[in-house]
Subunit: 351 residues, 2 copies
């Protein structure tokens, strides 16, 4: 009888934040890849491009002119998926044809006036400014809207159509599927175990160490036990924190630091500006501000698609879409690779 080896033997792992299972088949990395390769990202991006609508001083699609901003810059998305005033589709008729009103706002936030930098290449003080702006936005928009989703699509392979460093903020009058599911899961765990799911998880991971990639006194970045994407990351504070605007000044600075370290390792993995989608999940806002949300713990998810190299990604297709997500290396293997990478960015080393 063979002894179980997670690197050799496929198995299922449970994701307690989504109440679902992942199929881990690490032996699959051995198969050769003859499929699609991606274009590597453009390495020569001009610091200023007169045609780029995100650069300081340029004119956007709707005719507005950007200020000569020197730090972050926030404006309303010119093609918003959510607008504040859409009419109601009306009462539901049939249980199989249900619709609901959706209202909200979509904003774009530039991280820096230059197009040729990314978060890991920015100065720590500049990343602190980004975090402070996030805090401000959650606080402001969260007064009215129950959910404020901050997210960054980075790299053309992640549908990002503009190389200028930026993220988006979409706020809605409803709790979207993913945070609603996460809310249910965290609540159930709290009711059963009397402590926040992710606080206990962070404690366990800090002890086990095998999935930790970077850590500091305030923060922890791990490849979660239930990671779906090859180099997926969960970034969270060690202290019980509900929302971005509950972070202390020290924790914000610590966050800038750990983000720079983490994203530098990401870039160093394949020596390429690492594509991903990332976003923040914290306790809901708006009407939920008055509720008890002790079951929540603030965290960021990083979902990067690359699997084998700068140009070969993991395809979440057929079996994944129709049956269940499957991964080709263990979370422990991914964490070890990232952990062993230098914390100096390959582009800085090159110069």
């Amino acid at each position: 009888d063979a002894r179980f080896d997670p690197k050799e033997h496929q198995h299922l792992r449970y994701n307690p934040l989504r109440d679902s299972w992942i199929l881990v088949s690490a032996h699959r990395m051995k198969r050769p890849w003859a499929g699609q390769v991606e274009k590597p990202p453009e390495e020569q991006i001009p610091r200023y491009d007169p045609r780029n609508p995100l650069c300081p001083g340029n004119t956007r699609a709707n005719g507005e002119v950007n200020p000569d901003y020197e730090s972050t810059f926030v404006f309303d998305n010119d093609f918003p998926a959510l607008q504040p005033d859409a009419p109601d589709p009306g009462a539901d008729q049939h249980p199989l044809f249900q619709s609901k009103a959706a209202r909200g706002v979509c904003k774009v936030m530039c991280f820096h006036p230059w197009s040729d930098v990314t978060l890991p290449l920015m100065k720590k003080e500049e990343v602190v400014k980004v975090i402070e702006k996030w805090v401000e936005l959650v606080e402001e928009i969260g007064i009215t809207y129950p959910w404020v989703q901050i997210f960054e699509n980075k790299g053309a392979v992640m549908g990002c159509s503009n190389p200028h460093p930026h993220c988006q903020v979409w706020a809605s009058n409803f709790l979207p599927n993913e945070p609603a599911l996460s809310d249910r899961c965290q609540r159930k765990y709290y009711e059963k175990h009397g402590e926040p799911l992710l606080l206990e998880y962070a404690k366990q991971e800090a002890e086990k160490k095998e999935r930790v990639v970077v850590e500091s006194s305030d923060w922890l970045a791990v490849v979660p036990y239930w990671a779906t994407w090859p180099y997926q990351m969960l970034l969270l504070p060690r202290r019980h924190v509900l929302r971005l605007n509950d972070l202390t000044t020290e924790e914000r600075e610590g966050l800038a630091d750990i983000m720079k370290r983490l994203l530098t390792k990401y870039d160093n993995l394949f020596e390429v500006s690492f594509p991903y989608s990332m976003g923040w999940h914290g306790a809901p806002t708006g009407p939920h501000l008055k509720e008890n949300n002790s079951h929540w713990q603030l965290h960021a998810h990083y979902y990067p698609p690359l699997l084998r190299s700068a140009t070969v990604k993991k395809f979440m297709v057929g079996y994944e879409m129709l049956a269940q997500e499957q991964r080709d290396l263990t979370p422990e293997q991914a964490a070890e690779k990232l952990r062993n990478l230098p914390e100096e960015h390959y582009k800085i080393r090159e110069n």
Copy 2:
């Protein structure tokens, strides 16, 4: 007060098979696209390629030689994500670190001896042979395994690494997330309304007509009210049928016919071999064969990624991954476009 217009006003729609919501923001199609474009699929594929491991008579990675097959051909996947004999990871220790044994089989099925055909370009009798082989596989493998997932990844953009027409069959000793969710949703509906969810849905859609793309006396293909992917399709029999192997001879022939019609329209949309992932969902098998599964209705899901053209896909990224899926045209707009396309394949017309 503006009157609600689904093409102009964003709204949410409920997916009763997944108990989740979709954000429909059809006005978003107006934004210009400056992002990633895909390579169009290779148009000149040789009928026989001596290096292609799926062609008749060729040697595969493991040294096995394919027979000179003349219709379909099934073999065990040389790099299976599921194997029949993986050891058990052992009893769970902590609720946040749960794992389970995963066992199963992975098979590959070639549709045709030629590499330069696809289902819509095959003769109807040849497609019937594919369906008959599906039936055989569900019946055989379904004796022991609770879930037999038949799926096709078509096109490099969907991670398909071999242009030879083929699908895969992954069977498992567990009910994967997606069918488990679908099972729960169909069961709940049945308990509440006393009839199968998808049977009632098909009846409603056949009357409403606005989302129907192709239909016949036995089959219906609609862009579901809750479609996520731009040109997503739900294909299902009109009669109450639990599994592929419950179809009558006539229904199998009708299926070959409607598949050819549907996939021809797909190819005609952007005059390109239309990429997608598709797969069959029917009542669970193995130990579930003895249970009452009346709440189930057999159906196929088609998830095609293209949005704007042969080279511009929909990116399910940031907001979709972290919050909720969002679409850029209404299901009714998609259905109308497909419905109005000719049923003669553009490649046949060209010759």
